[in-house]
């Protein structure tokens, strides 16, 4: 992975920059010890590492603003970091950058059930937002699988989704307002507890901008009353095409499940060996979850059964208890862990039109054979967000490069059938150089112009999202 050459002037001024940061931040909020900085050298895209110049851990919006003013004045690049769980390298530093970690800002600032909002500091973890309100019967809907660890700040930066977004939408659909600190250290309030923007929808473009437009320190989130209950059904098929057709029919019939998850045979086998969830030995498997009261759940599952039976499933297993529900979800939730047991893997994140599913699965199978690398498919079938896992051996020379090449081919395929490179993980450094597959130079220029407005000097997380050659003229060095 190519990164720009570090700015020699910044490297040379490290001591002075750290000293200036110490003037505006508490002593324990500035880290420049090389050993301690190792903790910030990568995120969850751990194949790529680089220790930063320094790391700062402010405790308030005012401290964030003060630190950014210093970095702005010094012309130092800043890489914002939530919990460091990005799979796309969104929080990966460069040698000449300061990591701005938001993890110490975790307070709940306001909960209002009448208005159905919660305001939190953005370093708070996703799951602990729900944790603060669930005893009162409410929850925060977006549920990325890293939700135990990932921060709201990172969710906003990447516009994170999750298994249940088929019904509840992704982060941008559940975000009402932010406190944003610009690279120049200016504090802006965008949106709030009301539902729409008076002028341009700045909140809409801030969400998903991968930490390139500003640092989000606080967020107002929409919260919902928890449904009375939820229950999954597991359906096995002897072909992926038939499973795909069943998904299309369910959507067409007007049932709106909260989740439709898909696993193919390689994935089913690996998770069975690992988690022993008792999954049937079949080509494709769907896990569909519906919500409501017991009677409402029965009504929906009855409809799903009628539709599924038209596709002659090899198995139809309806959960009847909490215990059975857990077993049905067990394999799906262990899928990534199971893959990690048998191999190193790269997790892709392209989205395709649901109608292209059979064609794409077939082509992935062909590519997998061509490259000699196994690919297991596990994904959110209701919205077409695929997660092909390419298995490889990191210790075998050349395999990472081969795997990346196959990954690029699969993502290009996603775009060719009318989809996109990333459905919920973000571009980061990982898919940066594929952006020209999906966008024309004019499309990318329009996006970069937005960054020009928020961060004219391109100091915030600059070497991400856009191909290096495309952003070269704007990034300075």
């Amino acid at each position: 992975m190519q990164m720009p050459a570090p700015d020699a002037r910044t490297l040379g001024r490290k001591a002075a920059i750290v000293a200036r940061l110490r003037e505006v931040l508490p002593a324990d909020a500035v880290i420049d010890d090389p050993v301690e900085l190792r903790a910030y050298e990568c995120d969850a895209l751990a194949a790529y590492r680089c220790p930063p110049l320094a790391a700062i851990l402010p405790r308030s919006t005012a401290e964030v603003a003060a630190a950014l003013k210093v970095c702005h004045a010094e012309g130092v690049k800043v890489v914002p970091r939530g919990a460091g769980t990005s799979l796309a390298g969104g929080a990966m530093p460069s040698e000449d950058s300061v990591i701005l970690g938001i993890a110490r800002m975790t307070r709940v600032l306001e909960v209002d059930y009448a208005d159905r909002i919660i305001r939190v500091e953005a370093g708070r973890t996703n799951l602990s937002v729900t944790g603060a309100i669930e005893s009162d019967g409410f929850f925060y809907a977006p549920d990325p699988s890293s939700q135990l660890a990932c921060a709201i700040a990172g969710n906003i930066a990447m516009n994170s989704g999750g298994a249940h977004c088929l019904k509840y939408g992704v982060t941008t659909n559940n975000l009402l307002g932010v406190t944003l600190v610009t690279m120049a250290g200016e504090v802006l309030e965008i949106g709030g507890a009301h539902l729409d923007a008076p002028g341009l929808d700045l909140l809409g473009v801030i969400c998903g901008s991968e930490g390139q437009l500003g640092v989000v320190t606080e967020a107002t989130l929409r919260i919902l009353a928890k449904p009375e209950g939820a229950r999954p059904v597991l359906i096995g098929f002897d072909s992926s095409e038939v499973a795909g057709a069943c998904v299309a029919d369910i959507i067409r019939a007007g049932v709106l499940p909260v989740a439709i998850e898909f696993m193919d045979r390689p994935c089913i086998r690996a998770t069975e060996d690992f988690a022993h969830a008792g999954y049937p030995d079949c080509e494709a498997l769907l896990i569909i979850e519906v919500e409501g009261s017991p009677a409402e759940i029965d009504e929906q599952l009855g409809l799903i059964r009628t539709i599924a039976e038209r596709h002659t499933p090899v198995e139809f297993r309806e959960s009847r208890s909490e215990e059975e529900s857990k077993r049905i979800w067990l394999g799906r939730k262990s899928a990534f862990g199971a893959m990690g047991q048998i191999n190193d893997y790269m997790c892709l994140d392209g989205t395709i039109p649901v109608s292209a599913l059979p064609q794409v699965l077939r082509r992935i199978g062909e590519l997998s054979a061509e490259y000699g690398l196994e690919v297991a498919n596990v994904f959110h079938a209701g919205d077409g967000n695929m997660h092909p896992l390419i298995l490889y051996h990191a210790n075998t020379p050349g395999q990472l490069e081969l795997c990346e090449k196959l990954g690029a081919e699969i993502l290009t395929l996603c775009v060719e059938v009318g989809g996109c490179l990333t459905g919920e993980h973000g571009v980061g450094i990982e898919k940066r150089d594929l952006m020209t597959v999906q966008f024309t130079p004019a499309d990318l220029e329009a996006q970069m112009r937005v960054k020009d407005v928020f961060d004219p000097a391109w100091l915030l997380n600059p070497a991400k999202v856009f191909p290096l050659a495309t952003s070269a003229g704007r990034r300075g060095n």
């Binding site: 516009n159 002028g199 959507i251 007007g254 919920e424 024309t440 996006q447």
Partner: protein, 359 residues
């Protein structure tokens, strides 16, 4: 000017020597200077995949045509876009582009999101005459910046929309509306908050003067019946609700602020947190329609008077939808730093300042 292709439109914008006033059906556009640039020549459905709940449509397509095509497949736009023609006393057929340019979102906004939440892709011609696409036709897409949201509600000031992609919703087989009569605005908002904060998946909560406070449920038949029963119990402290099976006309009245059609006075649209709704109603004193559980207020206010001045200190914003008054802007002024960002974005997308430049 009425281009019939995106390329022609781009050429027209590139060659423009003065301001342009972008117009779909002419029902929503605000007065602005310049030669009228009609989008009606860019019309028709480009792609409709009912099994994927996806529609791609040219921006000049009449909204009625879009809704009819979807209804034929038992589907709809989730966000229930309203029509403001009757309120503003304008003829003409609203276009889907006009809906997006104003982010028009009706009562279902509280549950299904706004227009901007269902919009998954755009093509547009910016003020330089360049064709730009963003988003796509898939439901989950975080590839690059989300200019889709930025364009929704931009009132044609960043570019001329040419093609739009939406995610759709199946029309549920059953619906019911609970009507609570005679509540004050404060009690109405309390009742709506109780309903919206329940697990019963309310898809509309509004207060219509003369009719009552409306709570809508939609879904499978047995499920709707069950939830009606539960809400009747939960809302008992607010009175005995009447259950209406077909209340479409009432929801349309809320959506389009029908009580103010053809009446004297200015109409204001005010967006606040729901619990501030009663305070807004009290300060304005006149007649109000409340939607979004109290978070959206349509107010009939004496012509030429500044409703915004009455609302000082209440977070949110107020827009004058109908009426003119010297010195009282229709659009809410933004805080200086936000206004600076907005102006800079406009300058990037339309450096000559020719698109819907305002009166």
């Amino acid at each position: 000017m009425r281009p019939t292709s995106e390329d022609d439109l781009a050429a027209l914008v590139r060659g423009a020597t003065g301001p342009l006033r972008v117009q779909g059906g002419g029902t929503r556009s605000e007065p602005s200077e310049g030669e009228v640039l009609e989008t009606g020549g860019l019309s028709g459905i480009v792609l409709y995949e009912p099994a994927a709940l996806t529609l791609v449509v040219r921006a000049g397509t009449p909204l009625a045509e879009v809704e009819a095509a979807l209804a034929a497949e038992g589907q709809r736009l989730p966000f229930e876009p309203g029509l403001v023609g009757a309120l503003l006393g304008r003829n003409g057929a609203s276009t889907i582009g006009g809906v997006v340019a104003t982010n028009a979102s009706g009562p279902r906004r509280v549950q299904a999101g706004a227009c901007r939440d269902s919009l998954i892709g755009v093509r547009f011609v910016d003020g330089r005459g360049t064709v730009i696409k963003n988003g796509g036709r898939v439901m989950k897409n975080v590839t690059g910046y989300d200019l889709v949201k930025l364009l929704a509600g931009s009132h044609g000031s960043l570019g001329v929309l040419t093609e739009l992609a939406f995610k759709l919703q199946p029309i549920p087989p059953a619906t019911a509306t609970l009507i609570l009569p005679g509540l004050t605005p404060a009690r109405a908002v309390a009742a709506m908050s109780a309903a919206l904060g329940s697990p019963y998946d309310v898809t509309g909560a509004a207060h219509l003067p003369g009719t009552g406070t409306l709570i809508r449920l939609e879904g499978l038949a047995a499920s709707v019946a069950y939830r009606v029963d539960r809400l009747l119990v939960a809302l008992a402290p607010y009175g005995q609700a009447v259950v209406e099976r077909d209340a479409a006309a009432l929801w349309q009245a809320v959506r389009d602020a029908a009580p103010f059609h053809g009446r004297e006075g200015d109409v204001w649209r005010i967006s606040v947190r729901p619990s501030d709704g009663p305070e807004v109603a009290a300060r304005l004193g006149g007649e109000v329609v409340m939607d979004w559980g109290g978070g959206l207020i349509w107010a009939l206010y004496p012509a030429g008077m500044d409703a915004r001045a009455q609302l000082a200190g209440i977070p949110g914003h107020a827009t004058r939808i109908r009426g003119t008054a010297p010195g009282i802007p229709a659009l809410p002024p933004e805080p200086a730093p936000v206004a600076a960002l907005t102006a800079a974005l406009r300058a990037q997308f339309d450096p000559r300042g020719i698109l819907n430049a305002g009166p």
